[in-house]
């Protein structure tokens, strides 16, 4: 019984914690620009993040080693350090985007000035992470993030042509007017892939497995949570694409802000739908902000051998605690300089995919290493084949991301 509860909670929190500000913005915008034609990329990314999280979680459960411990061990000091610095800069950027998102969302509820709300968000996040245990953070933000399911209902009531939705899952490129449109399509494909496969999710997932004290007996639990959690999380992404396609595409509007996405909910579900959507976005962004800042601290601590973990009192994991505190503070400061939150979101998504192969690769190598994982827990031929396939996919996406950002002028076409 306890196991079933744990499984259920794990799946729900994985689902609720799946969407963050970049995924929201890009999914709705992708729907507005290309209808359902990018849904297959959501599916591709979902299988990718499932494979990646499953491997990282399995290695964490079997060997008790989280991602950056492996990176240091396998890539050596120099390459590992570069990966660490890059990964943590991207974490900081993502955390910044989330705090910006929280401030925007709070503004929608309160009407107060944006910068003060960013400061308030900082205070809120510091307090919550300081006070709550890891399990409660997961539950509160994962479960309340399920308010995002409002978009699921909205997508349903928007009455899309389900046949066309299904056709969107068939990989392909639509017929477009000009070459710049094709480049834009490619840019959105890369961005959607990145937003589904954000690397911090994996660091956090593997470290979280250790926070929860998983052991080799939890390999099956890991598999189920990784698969079902990511798939359900992606259903939300699909719903967002559908909302974009149904609400904004007919009007030739390209939405950019969280509040615009919320209109999809108000349109179908009225005022309460609006409030639920805004609330869901708040918990989803706050959850992601917490995950990114903790990931930054996990990564650094695991690379340098510091005691880490929310399960330890802050005093016994002091440098770890200081690291996440500093990450929050830096992120909030960046927002308070007045940078455009929409651009921060965009850069966070693009740079995430650039570093993805470098954190993916060591996990893939270790998970496939019979000598390290043992016959029983190493990748089978299927996991290996899928794993290497995705290494190719994410490498391609990483190589294309920045050139596409430039030629499409930041997704403007």
């Amino acid at each position: 019984m306890k196991n079933i509860v744990e499984l259920f909670l794990g799946i729900l929190t994985a689902m609720g914690g799946f969407v963050e500000v970049g995924e929201l913005v890009f999914s709705v915008d992708a729907g507005a620009k290309f209808g359902f034609r990018l849904l297959w990329v959501v599916a591709l990314g979902t299988l990718g993040i499932t494979v990646f999280c499953e491997m990282a979680g399995r290695v964490a459960a079997v060997k008790g080693q989280p991602v950056f411990n492996l990176i240091r061990e396998r890539a050596g000091l120099n390459a590992g350090l570069v990966t660490l610095v890059a990964a943590n800069l991207v974490n900081l950027l993502t955390c910044t985007a989330e705090i910006g998102g929280i401030a925007l969302v709070w503004q929608l509820l309160s009407g107060w000035p944006y910068r003060w709300l960013a400061l308030g968000a900082l205070g809120f996040l510091l307090l919550v992470v300081w006070v709550l245990s890891f399990q409660w953070i997961e539950r509160v933000f994962g479960l309340l993030g399920l308010l995002m399911c409002t978009y699921l209902a909205a997508a349903y009531y928007l009455r899309p042509n389900w046949g066309e939705v299904a056709a969107g899952f068939v990989p392909g490129v639509p017929h477009l007017e000009s070459s710049s449109e094709y480049l834009l399509f490619a840019y959105f494909a890369v961005a959607i892939l990145s937003s589904v496969m954000l690397p911090y999710e994996t660091y956090f997932y593997a470290s979280g497995a250790m926070e929860d004290g998983w052991n080799p007996g939890d390999v099956n639990l890991n598999r189920v949570i990784a698969i079902v959690g990511s798939v359900l999380g992606s259903v939300l992404a699909v719903a967002l694409v559908v909302c974009g396609a149904q609400v904004f595409r007919p009007h030739q509007i390209e939405p950019q802000l969280p509040g615009e996405a919320a209109l999809a909910a108000s349109l179908t579900l009225g005022r309460w739908g609006l409030l639920a959507a805004v609330g869901g976005m708040f918990f989803a962004f706050a959850g992601a902000a917490i995950e990114t800042s903790l990931s930054g601290a996990y990564n650094l601590a695991q690379f340098l051998g510091w005691p880490w973990g929310k399960y330890r009192p802050a005093r016994t994991a002091a440098r770890f605690s200081l690291t996440w505190i500093i990450t929050f503070v830096l992120a909030a400061l960046i927002i308070m300089t007045g940078v455009d939150p929409v651009s921060v979101v965009e850069y966070s998504i693009v740079f995430s995919v650039v570093i993805l192969p470098f954190t993916y690769f060591p996990v893939l190598v270790i998970a496939g290493d019979r000598r390290v994982m043992g016959e029983e827990h190493a990748n089978g031929w299927f996991a290996n084949a899928v794993g290497w396939f995705y290494l190719g996919i994410v490498t391609l996406a990483a190589l294309l991301a920045v050139p596409l950002l430039i030629v499409t002028r930041g997704g403007k076409g």
Partner: protein, 91 residues
């Protein structure tokens, strides 16, 4: 010296033939499990060639070993080994 200085050190025979790069320092006897040792003696040098695929990590370099006794000198950051080793480990 420090272990990191050996990493990727070039391995040459006395007559100047290039054999590969140092990968590892191997000590005989199983890894510590409860019984303390004052130190670990390095018995063998593990070395091999680093081709493009090995550098990418796609294939694993075929490692070879040389007994430490065959190491004659460390000169200009290069490991100089007995000529006979190069002959024996060829091919």
């Amino acid at each position: 010296m420090r272990a990191h200085e050996f990493q990727y050190m070039e391995v040459l025979t006395e007559s100047g033939r290039f054999l590969g790069h140092v990968f590892d320092l191997r000590s005989r006897g199983e890894p510590e499990y409860g019984e303390p040792h004052d130190a670990r003696t390095v018995h063998e040098i593990v070395y091999g060639r680093l081709g493009l695929f090995e550098r990418l990590g796609i294939t694993q370099a075929e490692p070879q070993t040389i007994p430490w006794k065959a190491v004659k000198a460390i000169r200009d950051g290069k490991l100089i080994v007995d000529d006979s080793v190069g002959e024996r480990n060829r091919g």
